[in-house]
Structure formats: C-alpha cells, structure tokens
C-alpha cells in the first residue's frame, strides 16, 4: 500500500468518525415517532378554518376519501387525492399540506408516507371530516353551557356561517361530546356521527 492510499484511507476514516461526532440525531423513523407522540403531526379543524379564511399562501388540503364522498361534501378549497398518489405523486414542497380522511386513519397513514418521502410541512385532521363537520360546519352548544363554552361557540359560529354551516345551540348536554370545547380528548360521539349523516342526507 503506497503513501497516497494510506492518506486516502486515513482521510476516509477521519471523515467517517467525524460524521458520528457531528450527527447525534436519531434515525428518521425515530423522528417520525417523536413527532407523532408530541402531536406535531396534527392540526385542529378550527386552526384549519382560520388558515382557509386567511387565504394562506401555499396551503394545500387533500381529501383522501373516495371520489364519491368527496363530491358529496368536502372542506372548502380541498382537492381529492388517493393513498396511492401519496406514495408517488409530487406535491409542492413550499407550502403546508393538510390531509384528512373519513376518521383520521387513512390520513395518518398518508402522513407517514409523505414524511418518509421527505415532506416536512404536513399535518392531518385527527378525526377527519367528522372533526370538520362537528367543530366548524355544525358546532354544538349545550343548553347548560358555561360562559367559556359560550365564548368558544360564538367564535365557532362565525366560522360555521362563513363556510355555510348550521350552528346548533341549546342542545342537550348528552349530544355534546365530552371535551368538545375544552380541547381534551374528543372522540367523535354517536350524536355527532348521526349529525354528519343528516348533513350528508340533505346533500350539503
């Protein structure tokens, strides 16, 4: 082995060891796990409504449900996309991409696909189209609502009317999901799902 080979070998070893010292970041899949646990992958329906109203530049909303469901009702300014397209289709990288599906499952899968393809500004609606309808399109206020809930409802009413929705006030407390206004775990309840079905039947 001549001197040039020795120098090249030592340089490669030094650059390799330097790489270990320079990069302490966890593996890409660990980053995805951390983002999921910290909920940085989510956007709420109210946040999305604010951004649509503000006409945010580069905001791209993708509906992952079937084309028939999309044509029946979709979030304003959304476009239709399939899970397969999430794996292959190129999307602009300079804006925020928001994904939603029926209940959040497909959009979470698509979010992971897109993250592994290197898209960084991407989030999804945790409870899908149900969250949009129950929070923005048809917000609910219980008859025995607190003052804080009434304030939140007032704001949600403005959003609802902007998007052509129907706010419902003075409904029985049992028809308002637990944690609805507090921002805590808001598993879409049976009454909300029934309301969504009603909206669909009237063909909004």
């Amino acid at each position: 082995m001549n001197r040039i080979h020795c120098v090249l070998g030592l340089t490669a070893a030094a650059l390799g060891l330097g790489a270990a010292a320079a990069d302490f970041r966890p593996a890409a899949n660990m980053i995805v796990v951390a983002q999921t646990e910290s909920e940085h992958d989510h956007i709420t329906a109210i946040e999305l409504a604010e951004r649509i109203i503000a006409r945010e530049t580069g905001l791209q909303i993708l509906d992952l449900r079937s084309l028939a469901e999309f044509e029946q009702f979709h979030i304003p300014s959304a476009s239709h996309a399939t899970l397969d397209e999430m794996a292959h289709r190129p999307f602009p990288r300079d804006g925020q991409i928001v994904l939603y599906s029926e209940d959040g499952t497909h959009s979470a899968q698509a979010w992971k696909l897109m993250r592994l393809r290197g898209y960084r500004n991407i989030s999804f609606l945790r409870e899908g189209i149900y969250e949009w309808i129950s929070r923005v399109h048809e917000p609910r206020l219980a008859a025995d609502a607190t003052a804080a809930e009434r304030d939140d409802f007032k704001r949600a009413t403005e959003f609802s009317r902007f998007f052509g929705g129907v706010p419902l006030s003075d409904v029985p407390r049992s028809e308002v999901p637990l944690g609805y206004w507090t921002g805590s775990a808001n598993k879409t309840s049976v009454p909300v799902k029934q309301a969504v079905e009603k909206i669909r039947r009237r063909g909004c």
Binding site: L15, A19, A21, R25, P26, A27, A28, M30, G118
Partner: protein
C-alpha cells in the same frame, strides 16, 4: 441551491435526461481507466488474486456515502429528498444470485460489459447481447413472475431506520469497515502475487 437538483425542480426532467448520458459516459470512462473493462481482471476477484473490483466499488460507495453525508450536513444536499429504492427480499435475493452467476460466467457486469464492448472486446459485446436477451426474456415473462416480483416487500429500508441509530454512527461504522477491507484486500493480493 440545494441538491438533488431534479427533486428540487432546479434542472427539471429535460435537465435530468441531459445529465444522465454525461454521468454515464464519465462512469464508463473511469471504469475503463481503472482497468475494469478486462474480464480476467474482474473474474480475478472470485479467485482472490485481483481484488481491484472490490476496492474500486467499495471506494466508490465510501466516497458517495461520505460526500452525501457531509453535503447534507452543510446544507448543499437534502438527503430526505434522495430516492431510496424499495426492498423486496426474495426477488432481490434471486436477482442477486442470477447477477452473480452471470458475472462469474461472463467475467463482466452490466457496466463493465458496456465499457468492454465500447473498447471493441468481443467478450464485452457477447455479454451485452446476453444482457439484452435477459431484459427481453424478463419483460416477456413478466406476467408470470409479477406476483413473485412484488413479494416480500419491506418498503424503503435504511440501516439507520433498521438499527434505530443515528446516520452519523452508520457512516462511521461503514467507513472503518471499508478502510479495514482495503487493508485486508491489499494483503491478500500481496500474499497471492
């Protein structure tokens, strides 16, 4: 300006098509200059008498890996945008075995066979013809093997994701292994010659 230039839209599809032959020509030229257009030299690695192929290929991998890592580190390249081919365990194992058998029989691999053919070597032309025949047979029979072709899919896999360790740690391990490999290969060659 951030690479990869095709993914960030700087050179576009036409630019990519123009870049491909330039890179291909440069690759072939360096292979020929490195003596890899010679079948006896390539076959020599299977008998541990000439490990030039091992050293050339490993140094190419090492250079690309270190270059990609440090360019990404300094923001010139975005590694997140670099395409990672999907892993299909069984089809790729069978393909690798076929490739190795063809390499051993012909004494040339696809790249070096083109180099040898361009240099006017008859064995190179024969291997290129064999390669094209293989491509024709593969495509003609694709419907029969399509299910196997898509089986045991694991998606894009990397050592960092498989082992759950940082990219830098993987780079360090491979760099040290490569340098050790070069040293051992040179000693084997010295012993055999």
């Amino acid at each position: 300006m951030t690479a990869p230039l095709s993914e960030t839209g700087i050179i576009g599809a036409q630019g990519t098509l123009l870049a491909a032959p330039v890179i291909g020509f440069a690759f072939g030229w360096f292979l020929e200059r490195g003596g890899l257009g010679s079948a006896p030299k390539l076959a020599g690695q299977f008998y541990f008498v000439d490990l030039t192929v091992f050293k050339v290929m490993f140094s190419a991998l090492l250079t690309a890996m270190l270059g990609a890592f440090w360019l990404d580190f300094f923001g010139v390249l975005d590694l997140e945008l670099v395409y990672i081919p999907e892993t299909f365990v069984l089809p790729q194992a069978v393909g690798g075995a076929l490739f190795g058998a063809g390499f051993l029989l012909g004494g040339l691999c696809p790249g070096t066979s083109c180099v040898a053919a361009a240099a006017g070597r008859l064995d190179g032309i024969a291997v290129v013809c064999g390669m094209l025949a293989g491509v024709f047979i593969f495509n003609s029979a694709f419907d029969w093997i399509a299910e196997f072709y898509a089986s045991t899919s694991l998606g894009p896999m990397t050592l960092t994701n498989m082992l759950g360790i940082s990219r830098g740690a993987v780079v360090a391990v491979i760099a040290i292994a490569a340098v050790a490999g070069f040293t051992i290969a040179t000693r084997i060659e010295d012993t055999r010659s």
